[in-house]
Amino acid sequence: MPKIALQDVTKSFGKKKVLRGITLDVPAGKSVVVIGGSGTGKSVMLKCILGLLKPDSGSIKIDGVEITTLHPWQRENIMRKFGMLFQGGALFDSLPVWENVAFGLVQGKRTSRRKARPIAYEALAKVGLSEDVGQLSPSELSGGMQKRVALARAIASQPEIIFFDEPTTGLDPITADVINNLIVESVQHLGATALSITHDMASARKIADIIAMIHEGKIVWQGPASEIDHSGNELVDQFIHGRAQGPIKMAINHQ
């Protein structure tokens, strides 16, 4: 049984159809990366799985449990299995770094602050941040460090499934590679299932077991990461080589 199973998921905003029937399986313990250009529906797909958006039709199953029809209070149990690394980090700027990392434990799982604190520092150490960073405010950190803190927050409550939303966007190539390594390490260490979305091919190659390509709200290709260069799919070829010419036409003149 796949850990996450999407079947014909659709979502529209007004007249704009963003997801046109996504079908995707994420096997347990594997890292699946969904690649695709801006505006193809990657983020919307992720938000539908997280329950931040409600799909118009289709089914989303986590461990075989249909989640699109769950009540909010039933959903909370499912949410406890999730960790998420947001694109911009989404750290709480009103709290110091260590409280950010401990947040899921203290507020979500009702662990005492005293018990959560050492766990938070341990998670910070895992992403290579020293003790004194814990007392700082998130706004005092560089972009790369914020990403690390966000990663520490995502893994601190030991989730079964971790989502990565464009984990390397906005980072320099070296910091991006450090983050990629940390992602691979922490996912393997937890034995977690990972679902990432990105348009950074270096990142996708590094962290993926399986790559799927999304285009115009549909999965157009999927296969093992090692086969991405021999996909035989024109859309995939155009994307991974970053060519302006090809079957994918980017909207330039109109929104």
């Binding site: 938000k47 997280l50 329950g51 931040l52 909370e76 949410m79 406890r80 999730f82 960790g83 998420m84 947001f86 694109q87 911009g88 989404a90 750290l91 709480f92 700027d93 947040f103 899921g104 507020q107 979500g108 799982k109 009702r110 927050r153 409550s157 989502f163």
Partner: protein, 257 residues
């Protein structure tokens, strides 16, 4: 036909807002009543909404009470009723000006801050992050603010009543030549429990409105910095309008007819 279409469009927008506001209202009230409660957040909001608003509300009350004393003296002297200053200042401040002006000042100060903070959390995905960390944004963000504002506003208005009356007393005794003991006696004899109580109940309603509008507009903000700016403006304007409108209805409810 064009006119009809725009009327229809406007109606849809209107009912859309009424609908989402009602839903937000119910969700907020429910999250104020059911556990889990976030005591730390609540304490923080009490401090920020209540204590930090003291200077603004106090100064507003002081100058309003003083100006009121002067105006009533000038008006009253036209028909030889200068002696009425103490009574009218007490009545005007406790029933009307204390709650309304404190409400409007706090709407500007706190309503804007709430909308900007929650709006920024929305556009930087911090609210989504809360959800992924199994924490309800309604319980963590909205409920503490609404509870704190509803409790703080009556306290602030109670203080504003005292300071406002004191402002009238200062002007009355220092520049209008009233005897200090007589002024105080007039105030105390004339003022009734109902005057103060109705003002404090109004204040609690205004506090609720301010926090609700701040949270609602912040929570639904979209579109980056501009969206947060719009949310802040909408929060202050809608809170102020609702305060003035509900003030009229509450007044007519309290004092009959």
């Amino acid at each position: 036909m064009l006119g009809l279409a725009s009327v229809g469009r406007l109606s849809i927008v209107f009912f859309d807002i009424v609908g989402s506001l009602s839903k937000f209202f119910v969700q907020s009230v429910l999250s104020c009543l059911a556990p889990p409660f976030f005591a730390r957040q609540f304490g923080r909001q009490l401090w920020r909404i209540g204590y930090n608003s003291l200077p603004v509300v106090g100064l507003t009350a002081l100058f309003t009470g003083s100006a009121l004393a002067l105006q009533i003296y000038i008006g009253g002297s036209r028909f030889n009723a200068e002696g009425i200053v103490a009574n009218i200042v007490a009545l005007g401040i406790t029933r009307e000006l204390g709650p309304v002006l404190a409400g409007l000042m706090v709407a500007g100060r706190v309503g804007a801050a709430i909308a900007a903070e929650i709006g920024t959390m929305r556009v930087t995905e911090q609210i989504d992050a809360l959800v992924t960390l199994s924490t309800s944004p309604f319980k963590y963000l909205v409920a503490p603010r609404i509870l704190a504002a509803t409790i703080c506003l009556p306290l602030l208005v109670g203080i504003a009543d005292i300071i406002g009356i004191f402002g009238g007393y200062l002007v009355g005794t220092r520049s209008l030549g009233f005897n200090s003991a007589v002024y105080l006696k007039n105030t105390m004899d004339f003022i009734q429990v109902d005057d103060v109580r109705s003002g404090l109940i109004k204040a609690a309603v205004f506090g609720f409105i301010i926090a609700l509008m701040g949270c609602y507009h912040g929570y639904h903000s979209a579109g980056g910095a501009q969206g947060v700016g719009r949310a802040t403006t909408n929060a202050v304007v809608s809170a102020s309008m609702l305060i003035l409108a509900s003030n009229y209805f509450l007044t007519s409810l309290f004092f009959g007819t």
